[in-house]
Symmetry: C3
Subunit: 464 residues, 3 copies
């Protein structure tokens, strides 16, 4: 019994990791970070004077409501989506909270280094806050793949490295390749999913079936998960439009995403019922696949995808996603040894790739005929004549390849780092269990029994 207590005891590891990371961040913020010209009292008032602006034109009023929607998706959306496990609600929602609070600070620095430096300083404001939340979203997708099988220290390390690689990949796509990906089908979803799947592959647990009785939901945990699902679903239009250009761009992106999600929901319900032998709906599909329409509209959402185009994309995304949950997840686990707790491959991986392809095709069809002067906002390089539409489309496709490459390789390397015993991962028999890292109230009848049997098993192992 004492055996696993020692290994997973976080008393020194977790405080040390948190304190060191936070102190490094504070030092770097002190040295490098400053208010941008919309948040700094002096600079904003100079700007107002020199450009004859009103306080009402501060970007706060045109980005902050979207930011808050994104923020809710990160903390409530992702957090509660993962609470479906019967005995891992605390870990789901609170580790989500911890790694998000860390990742958004670290992302401010990493993204700032790569595309926010002004005179050697990182300028921050509401736009950097949104970008940091986006990067955090990617980490949370990877978290979904390893949910229930990792210690908080492992998760913090994963976030540390993943945020860094995310910023590099994002820099290559947006600044080197001039690709468009406002809602992050590639940078956020594809990256987060395949990175997480590779980490899960490296951390493969051959005896995970010892924990399988906890790797499922109970009635109320499914209800909590629906809170997450619905917030993600409702606010996805804000997510995809949060950093697009002002005016028609934000407006159109939000609306495209809204219709993609609506169509996706109908195909998800249809496929969930169709693929069950008795026609009964499966909450796993509703909670997850109904969101694939938002993922798949992440790249093309800001383009002139048309309402009907958005619906077709969402419709297909829902079908693909349910089929993935039903038929691909077992194959991934058995053949490829990838134990994907939340099925992020089905919600973020495949729909992300679909979204990247749709984005590449839509970009390659861009013309001044269709976009008018709006072409400058959506495809500035095409509008300036630097790129042809087909080259833009080609670069979008290349971007998907780059993203997959960095995600897969990065995930493998980081997976091996997380294998270090010092990280305090739980053993195969006590996965999906809050009691390892949390003081848990003793109310669940099944709880005592389960842990008792786990402890017995563990102590037998130690004695033998």
């Amino acid at each position: 019994m004492a055996g696993w207590d020692t290994a997973t005891n976080m008393r020194l590891k977790l405080p040390l990791t948190c304190f060191i990371l936070e102190i490094i961040i504070i030092i770097l913020f002190g040295v490098l970070v400053q208010y941008d010209k919309e948040t700094d009292a002096k600079k904003w008032h100079l700007e107002k004077k020199s450009e004859n602006k009103s306080d009402y034109e501060n970007d706060f009023y045109y980005r902050y409501p979207s930011f808050q929607d994104v923020h809710v998706m990160i903390f409530i959306g992702f957090g509660f989506l993962m609470t479906f496990l019967q005995r891992y609600g605390f870990g789901s929602v609170a580790f989500n909270f911890l790694i998000s609070a860390f990742a958004l600070q670290w992302a401010t620095l990493m993204q700032g280094f790569l595309h926010g430096l002004h005179d050697g300083k990182i300028d921050i404001g509401v736009e950097s806050m949104i970008n940091a939340d986006f990067c955090t979203g990617s980490v949370l997708i990877s978290f979904g793949a390893v949910l229930g099988k990792t210690s908080p220290v492992q998760l913090l390390f994963m976030a540390l490295f993943e945020v860094t690689l995310f910023a590099v990949n994002e820099f290559i796509l947006l600044s080197v390749l001039d690709a468009k990906d406002a809602g992050g089908s590639m940078t956020i979803h594809t990256f987060g999913a395949y990175f997480g799947l590779m980490v899960a592959r490296v951390l493969y647990r051959p005896n995970l079936d010892k924990s399988k009785q906890r790797n499922c939901s109970v009635y109320h945990s499914d209800m909590f998960a629906m809170i997450g699902t619905l917030y993600l679903w409702m606010f996805w239009p804000s997510f995809n439009s949060a950093i697009t250009a002002h005016g028609d761009d934000q407006h159109r992106t939000a609306m495209n995403t809204y219709y993609s999600l609506a169509a996706c929901t109908l195909s998800t319900f249809a496929m969930s019922s169709l693929t069950a032998h008795d026609g009964k709906l499966d909450m796993v599909h509703i909670q997850n696949a109904a969101l694939a329409g938002g993922v798949a509209a992440g790249t093309a959402g800001e383009m002139m995808l048309t309402p009907v185009g958005s619906m077709i994309v969402g419709f297909l995304a829902g079908i693909i996603s349910v089929l993935g949950f039903k038929y691909l997840t077992p194959i991934l686990e058995e053949k490829l040894k990838i134990q994907d707790t939340c099925g992020v491959h089905n919600l973020h991986g495949m729909p992300g790739v679909l979204g990247a392809i749709v984005g590449a095709v839509t970009a390659s069809l861009a013309s001044r005929e269709v976009y008018g002067d709006g072409l400058e906002d959506v495809f500035p390089e095409i509008a300036k004549g630097h790129l042809s539409a087909s080259t833009q489309g080609f670069r979008q496709a290349i971007s998907l390849g780059v993203t997959l490459g960095i995600a897969l390789l990065g995930g493998i390397v980081v997976g091996f780092i997380l294998k270090l015993p010092v990280c305090g991962a739980p053993s195969d028999a006590i996965c999906f269990e809050d009691n390892i890292y949390w003081e848990v109230p003793e109310d669940s009848p099944s709880h005592g029994d389960q842990l008792a049997s786990v402890r017995t098993e563990e102590s037998e192992k130690l004695n033998s």
Copy 2:
């Protein structure tokens, strides 16, 4: 046991219904729907140039935050409000999700036909998105009346017809009669409630008491329902003001609704305690009646109702609503054979009628003395001299009559359509039970027993 499985098996019915409906929608969108001038890249940039506008004047920034509040009310508010039933949480929140995702698409088309056509095309943007959500709200009110007693296929058909009738009624009220009803006391609440009550009447179940042990809450299901209640309560000011004119109108509507709800909450708590023999509060009242103030401010909220006027309206609405739950619901069930699961008559029906009357009276008192130039925004027909204030008030009253007529007749007709056996409704003994249409985790101790007894009963019936 196989008996009810066959009847309610959704494996073909639900996918077929979803696919056919979604494909029809996609085709109609492809043929008829286009971006409006605020979401289309080319048109917006032309508009900007010709009218010397800034991107900051795109309507996105003045409607989208309200839209998102309304969106939360539809999916979280209505969805969770109905999760109070102990064994119908999945059905409540997820069927709410399904029919909303369908209804908002269908409403875009139906409302577009009737008042959004431009050169044979339906123009869409954030305002049509809000209107579609409003129409969806009406369907969800009707859903409340039949909650737990209908299959998802029945619900989709109900939504199909109800959305269509809603659009017709809305057209008559707003375009033919020039009535004002920004928050939908008539178009949304009165219509949705009486339509749903008629459907419930036609679908009357004489042996519903066989399911009565599940037609009540458990402790945590009441907690989930409070999530729905509070989101509806908090965001109702956004709902009533979402499509009123910009400036003072939106501002005033939100504030009137806020004070109406606050006063309503106090009268609800008072009446709940007063009508209980031991003075104990009843969660059903708190969850529902406290919202009646928002319903009752739906028509007059944009008018110069004054803060104190709003409070009086809310105060009365709370009293009426609790009395309805306590004394009228049993009468409706026993005498009129209307089994109103959520008591929508008390939350939406009576307060909706009250709101319509308050609106008619307030409108008949309108004058340039009170509204100044604002009269053109609130009552354009009076401002232009086309109508007198008393005629406006009279037309508001006529509108209530029209709404009741269409709702009652429509509900009866649609009720008979839903009776078709092909829809797969559950039998009287297995209402309010998720297990019919959902894969349900086997965690609830009562669950196994209940279903076992249901199954035994059913198989006995089949054997006999």
Copy 3:
């Protein structure tokens, strides 16, 4: 058994209190309250004409999204934060609802008397709505200290007096002393906490350990509480910035708060693990201490605190708060006889004082060098040359003293008022129990047993 039923029966007390309070409010609103120039149809249109304004410049668009975030914090944030108790979910979320609905109306009047009078009338609009919600927040903090041990009538009386004293204290700080406290470290948090602690002191219950088996959480009640925590955490940037000046001020305040909270979360997790002998995290800390960073940034958040300054403040707040929960709360209870149910001293008291000190120091360092012309928005008295920066800092410090004085004295007086037997407080043995004031579904297995034993105890006491 009948004994406690009679004492706590609310059938007359609660309706009477609610009706009398609401009728007084309605009369006062009728006599005193009117639309302000942004909500009144006539006045707004005159203003538009005379100042050549557009409807888009109505303050609704620049305050209402923040208002709604604050509103969610009040009703969902505070409401669900307090649902952690296993048998007090209804009371937590619904009494929170009741007293908030009352307090926001009463606060409109009290704050209006003291700083909103125009020609003898109280002008109201979105800014007064935010201020009323702020005042309500203070009452809810005090509610946290007495949670589970008070009747709804006691709570309404507490709100009545606390709102009044809050308005007086706020008037002294902001209008007499010209102190700055946009996010309310002093006016809201310090005031609410120490007021509530004094009320709890006066209402000390020597035999509260008879209810201790219910003074703790169960698994799902902790999950509900996390909903409250996360909404408070996410929307705190909106709270602190809701009434600061437009432009850079709102923007900077939101961002400072965001980073303070992020850093606070990491120090909270670290301290929670460090202070547990087995390194296991404690949900109480995560639910509460992670929010201390928002409290501590309440005064200085609008100042040029710098991002790194905000992080240091949040980092310290998290440490102080966890240490308070771990070591100070037991001392308060045993030595000072203050039974602080939610630990408001750790979440609002100490971090509020820290925030006041940080505000005083930051204010004393203000200069035109750093703020440029923005000095006029943040420190108008310094900008006008009426005060030096160090005097401003000194007045901030004085304000903390005034706040503590009024809160402590006021709390004692109000505590004695609440002791009146007519209020219907529960006895020591039936605290933290919904069944006293609510119709509770009979589903919890522990519920029947607990109440049975309580009843037996009580009837034994009556018989003896």
